[in-house]
């Protein structure tokens, strides 16, 4: 495996404003993402997960350290070959599903046939072929999120950043969307970087899971799941699934308590 993304000493401090003090939100963080891996990040609310994703995407500049994508430093501009799916609905309500998915391709120099083929493939991959002429308002929240995923996939990114893409969906839909995401990951061969607050989702989907501390967010643990590449949501039935999720929660519980301002209680065995 080769390193695709390298974060070195990355940190973010938001400057003081007339009404707020300066805020050290993130870092320092050192992390390497390997080409083709599925990496998930979990952490307490407000620990800077989304800020980290936006730094990698080039949407927010880091105030310290550096981020390299395929050997090139990311500096204030979204690099080519990176796709992002946000938690919020980013479908374009004035365009139908096909036009939404093709949105990013209009500036490409691809022939129309090639563009149409890519859109068709992406729609098939996310299971929306039958809704090609529907408008986002006619779709459920999960389907709209799939439109956004398809819009990212047609650009054939080598790195896909997902910022809690299933955060607004119910548990069953999330599990099914997770299956679809794994299918897409295998089909595209892209590296996936997933931000989530759901520990079971991270455990089910990822090859490695980074656990972040309370603000300022740092990586305090990286857990390897050792799942086979061919997997789906039935992996939750494995005994290791519970063990991994429990390990994540053990680390995260203390950090979450810090976030809500509670003292970390001693384990019962120590009392």
């Amino acid at each position: 495996m080769t390193t695709q993304v390298a974060l070195s000493n990355v940190g973010k401090t938001f400057p003081a404003s007339p009404t707020t003090a300066a805020l050290h939100a993130l870092g320092p963080i050192d992390l390497e993402l390997q080409r083709g891996e599925f990496f998930a990040v979990v952490g307490p609310s407000g620990c800077g997960k989304s800020t980290l994703l936006e730094i990698i995407a080039g949407l927010t500049p880091a105030t310290q350290g550096s981020v390299e994508f395929e050997g090139r430093r990311i500096a204030g501009e979204a690099p080519d070959s990176i796709g992002v799916v946000f938690q919020e609905d980013a479908s374009l309500p004035w365009l139908d599903v096909t036009e939404n998915v093709a949105f990013g391709l209009r500036r490409s120099k691809l022939a129309k046939d090639e563009r149409d083929a890519r859109v068709r493939d992406a729609l098939r991959l996310v299971g929306l072929s039958d809704f090609a002429t529907s408008y986002p308002a006619q779709l459920s929240g999960g389907m709209r999120q799939r439109v956004c995923i398809a819009r990212t996939l047609v650009m054939q990114p080598r790195l896909i950043l997902l910022d809690e893409p299933f955060g607004a969906l119910d548990q069953q839909t999330r599990l099914l969307m997770g299956d679809e995401l794994l299918l897409m990951w295998r089909a595209t061969g892209a590296t996936v970087f997933l931000i989530t607050h759901a520990l079971d989702e991270a455990t089910m989907l990822a090859d490695r899971i980074g656990v972040m501390s309370a603000r300022p967010g740092r990586l305090i643990d990286v857990v390897e799941t050792n799942w086979p590449r061919e997997r789906d949501s039935r992996i939750v039935e494995r005994s290791e699934f519970g063990a991994i999720t429990a390990r994540l929660w053990k680390t995260l519980r203390e950090e979450s308590l810090k976030t809500i301002g509670r003292a970390v209680p001693k384990p019962a065995a120590d009392a």
Partner: protein
Amino acid sequence: MKRLFLYRLAVVAGAIALLEIFCLTGVIDKITMQPPHLIARDLYRLLASGRMNGAIWKTSTNTLLALVLALGVGVVAAALLHRLRALRDTLDPLFATYYAVPVFAFYPFFIVVFGLGDLPQILIAFMLGVVAMIVNTLNGLDRVPPVLLKTGRIMRLTPIDTALRLTLPAAGPYILTGVKLAVAYAFIGIIGSEFILSRGGIGYEINFAYNNFDNATMYPLIVLILLASIAINTVLTRWEKTLLARRGAR
């Protein structure tokens, strides 16, 4: 919907019938107003004779010109102001009080500067419409979800692409509200100006007929303006409903 339409139709028909009765029974005297059926007949004769074609053409083209100017300048100005925060903060209070200023009060100035041609009339109509466009477009741009702007950056759209393909379409329903207002203001501006600034146009003809007690011309022309306004507004409202329905609203 159909029932609502029928109710509306009944209200309008009832009002016309009442007017007809008042006119025919002498409650409203003949010098003040003709009965509606005569107004309709005179309107038909006026249009069929072609006597008003020049005035209709002049008013229509000037209104359209003022409207196009107001829409173009309004949208571009709003898009620029949305990016230039300091300038917007400076101008916002002026926009808020703009319609308290009677634009028609400037007409002597416009005559001195631009003469008695079409230009001052178009300018007055433009001035009335442009701020409605700016304010409504800004309102729409303020409501564009930040995630769409991030999407534009991820797609590496240029600022112009972002405006044309993301932010302005996202602000579409608000812009359309601005268009509806601008249409109304453009009509008011042009026809009002023709009353005082012009030697032609429907406004001028209405004023001329009024001064000569020519009810057979004045009322049909008023009805003509009314019908044109209703027709345009109906088309725009239908367009707005389609837009909103597509977006899952209303």
